[in-house]
């Protein structure tokens, strides 16, 4: 008997959004295959075989922009499942940026493992998670795609008793439509020895026509973030120590919708479709079994946010009501718990060790809301920062100054190239790709030598530019960004002249310097945040002046190469 326990939400316009990347994120594709019942109680992990295949890909499909956090979301899901999902070591397969063939191989591998368990008389439950781009007919894995119909068939072919599919992708609700699932029957678990429910549950981040969205503040998608917060305990409505599919869905649905309602794209509706048989709830996590947790005491009330102090990432956020404690499973570490009540925010540092920790209200400091928001607790936009080191080699610009030096007074260039190094720090402003910051650049000319006979005359200079930098960026793909930049600076030049007797004469000059340039940046090459840029620039820096009144533009056309780190 099947029954629609949770209403399916379809056809609702997708949420919020980052205006700049429209096909944006594809939220969760959650397809749960329900297998056996939990073995020893709802708050302890089941003894049945549990497998998870967690997939994330930032790569865009044709006409799509790259995602930033889909792969990170997959890693977080994998980590959370390992921590509180009741999975044995080696049972969670996190697959980042796969090709369709690679994903097919992992699905086949999963099928073989579950088939072997079944042959041994062991029930199995399987969770499949996907975060990345998708369309109504396929999930996009970069330039290639895997049809949703094929994905559905392959997942159905896994002989697990219970399958849960979580899809965090645009129009992920279409998976159910493709699947053609009918409303699921009511189900519940009442056996601790085997799974009483069987079938499929699909948890999707958005409806079949909606967009799914990422958040710069959360550094992940809205849906996966709230789903994980729910799984960590915030979604445990009946406080039985386990978070069921139903509880996770309700928590993710509510918080995702609220969070995305104020975005430009609009509200994002999480959907759940089930095709289950049996009875009993299907737990997705067991926060009570976590090695560490943070408990908010009964007397605490307000909007609570738990932030990893080192990673500066929001781990959980929940509306805490007075009267009953709330517990959130976390990894051991240092956290800040911020609780907002009215115009005040209580910041409570806490160390979550083995066995968990309870927020000590006596250790909390009270801050104004604005101050707390500046620290990232409530800001709507978390600007990124970038430090960039670049270098250039160039030939000195031929102007009257240099012509006098080389052509008239017969100095020759030793080496011939000017080397420049530049260090810049930029801050992102808004979502329009505008970066502003400052920079300092140092350039050293080749040595100019006049072979006067016994001892040559030697002359060289260095210039330093310190100023402001503005840069506009446009993302061309997942890792490729085009940029244009302009800078204005104060330039200081030092010259050094050594005569035939070895006497050194130094002079200092100052002048304006401007720069216009453009180029491409490859981002997230070796690790997240690391990038490499290359491009060209034209610099005008008339800093040096000779006795004849000629100024040297120590700029010119330069080809630049740089390394950057963005955080």
């Amino acid at each position: 008997m099947t029954q629609n326990r949770v209403p399916t939400i379809r056809g609702v316009a997708c949420h919020e959004a980052k205006a700049m990347r429209l096909p944006l994120l594809l939220p969760i594709l959650a397809w749960a295959l329900l297998g056996d019942a939990p073995p020893a109680g709802a708050d302890t992990p089941p003894a049945i075989a549990s497998y998870a295949l967690v997939v994330g890909s930032n790569l865009p499909g044709p006409g799509q922009a790259g995602l930033r956090y889909a792969e990170d979301d997959a890693r977080r899901v994998g980590a959370t499942l390992a921590e509180i999902g009741g999975y044995a070591a080696g049972a969670i397969d996190v697959l980042v940026r796969p090709t369709p063939d690679a994903l097919r191989q992992r699905l086949d591998q999963l099928t073989r493992r579950v088939t072997a368990d079944a042959a041994a008389g062991k029930q199995a439950r399987v969770l499949f998670y996907y975060s990345g781009h998708a369309r109504s007919t396929a999930i996009d894995l970069g330039p290639a795609a895997l049809p949703l119909e094929e994905l559905r068939q392959r997942l159905l072919a896994v002989p697990a008793t219970l399958k849960v599919v979580v899809l965090d992708a645009c129009q992920s609700g279409a998976f159910s439509r493709v699947k053609g699932a009918t409303p699921a029957a009511d189900f519940s678990f009442n056996s601790r020895q085997h799974l009483d429910a069987s079938g499929v549950a699909v948890l999707a981040s958005s409806s079949g026509s909606e967009l799914s969205q990422e958040s710069e503040l959360l550094r992940g998608s809205y849906f996966t973030h709230h789903l994980l917060v729910g799984l960590r305990g915030a979604g445990d409505a009946n406080r039985d120590g386990a978070v069921s599919v139903d509880e996770a869905y309700r928590y993710a649905y509510h918080h995702t919708l609220v969070a995305t309602a104020v975005t430009a794209v609009g509200g994002q509706h999480v959907s759940l479709e089930v095709e289950l048989k049996g009875h009993g709830e299907v737990p997705l996590s067991y926060p009570r079994a976590a090695t560490s947790s943070i408990e908010l005491p009964a007397q605490l009330a307000g909007y609570a946010l738990i932030q990893d102090r080192q990673a500066k990432a929001v781990v959980a956020e929940l509306q805490k009501a007075r009267g009953a404690p709330a517990r959130v499973a976390v990894a051991p570490g240092e956290y800040d718990v911020l609780v907002r009540t009215g115009e005040q925010v209580a910041r409570c540092p806490i160390t979550a060790g083995p066995g968990g920790a309870t927020v000590d209200l006596g250790r909390c400091t009270i801050e104004a809301v604005a101050a707390a928001a500046q620290k990232g607790a409530g800001a709507a936009f978390a600007p990124r920062w970038r430090v960039e080191l670049s270098g250039a080699l160039e030939r000195e610009r031929r102007d009257a100054y240099r012509a006098t030096l080389v052509d008239t007074f017969d100095y020759r260039e030793d080496g011939g190239l000017t080397a420049e190094a530049s260090l810049g720090v930029l801050r992102e402003y808004g979502h329009r790709g505008l970066w502003l910051g400052g920079f300092a650049a140092q350039a050293a000319s080749p040595t100019y030598i006049f072979d006067a006979g016994e001892q040559p005359l030697r002359f060289r200079w260095q210039t330093t530019r310190v100023g402001a930098l503005a840069q506009g960026e446009h993302r061309l793909g997942h890792t490729l960004t085009a940029f244009a930049r302009g800078a204005a600076a104060l330039g200081i030049g030092w010259t050094r002249f050594v005569d035939q007797g070895g006497a050194v004469t130094r002079e200092v000059f100052a002048g304006p310097a401007v720069e216009l340039g453009a180029g491409l940046r490859l981002e997230n090459l070796w690790r997240h945040g690391l990038g490499m840029s290359f491009g060209g620039s034209f610099e005008y820096a008339p800093i040096l002046e000779n006795e004849l009144g000629e100024r040297h533009d120590s700029g010119g056309v330069r080809f630049r190469y740089g390394l950057s780190y963005t955080w």
């Binding site: 008239t408 007074f409 017969d410 006067a452 006979g453």
Partner: protein
Amino acid sequence: MQKLSLLVLGLAGTQLGATDCGRVLRDPGFDLWCGEDLCSWKVVRGDVARAPTWHASDAGVELVGEDAAISQLAPVTSDDGACIHFELVANVDDDAEVELGLDVHGDGSLDRRERLPASKWKPLSYNLAIKAPFDGIRFELSKRGSGRAVLGRIHAEIAGDGCGGLPPIDGGPAPLGGRCAGDADCASGLCRMDPTAFVGVKPRCVGCDPGLGPAACGAGMVCGLGEPRSPVRDLPIECVPQRGDELGELCLTSGECASQICNFFACSSCVNACGGGEPCEPAWTLGPSVCAPGEGRRASGEPCATDADCASGACNGAVRRTCDDGRPCGNPGDCPAADGLTPGECTTVGVTGGSCQ
């Protein structure tokens, strides 16, 4: 034999041209200053002063006054080449008349004058063809008028070609010691092989024919080595007073020496051996042969070349300073360029006409 070789090589060396990788002028940037005077340029008239060019420390030279001139004798010869590329960078006012003069052979007469136009640090260049043969060219830069003239660079180098079609500058007949191809090339009308150099050298202009012996000159004179006229030319062969050279002076024949002994081209006190088994050897390289030089055996009144020859430790006579090729000198500027364009050393070696105290 070794001594003879040294002498021959030393004298022959003066017949080779001297350039610095083709460049023929020293201190092309007017950067070498010895106090308030240029080290490598000679002030002919008026005065000079240091003046900034494109950089305050890359100084040029300003010709100061209504009439000022500087010159430098370049040790270039026709063996180096007969086409010279000349460049000058200067700041010349309109009311300053600046000329570049060329004195082929460096005999004091300017054979070509080129008026330099007014310019503001613009390079000027010329190609100059010089009629061969020649030894040395004196470059003279002069200014007349009240205008300002600052010279920043002067550059002259041998040009392989570039003088095609240019009428060669004829320096006229060569003075004594200059190279020649025939009698007509010489002011003296005599072009003869230089008896001081036997191998691989060209004939020189001479004042007398040493091959004629006593008949070459008049009564009381002999055909011998005269005093040097120029560091870029060989020692002149001319009629010199008979027995007029003191011990230690260069000679061609014994008739020039007061001692009547000319050994290895230096007036000496012995030839092959001395009494008592003492050796007869040169007192210094290309110097006079004396008995037991440097052994302090000479008694008072006996001829000597250095103080070390005398038992008293003192050899009275005129101080003898010579260049590497043995010619007498007063300063390095009198010596042929030794390496590139750098003048050779002028070293005190002993005394001439010496006798022990």
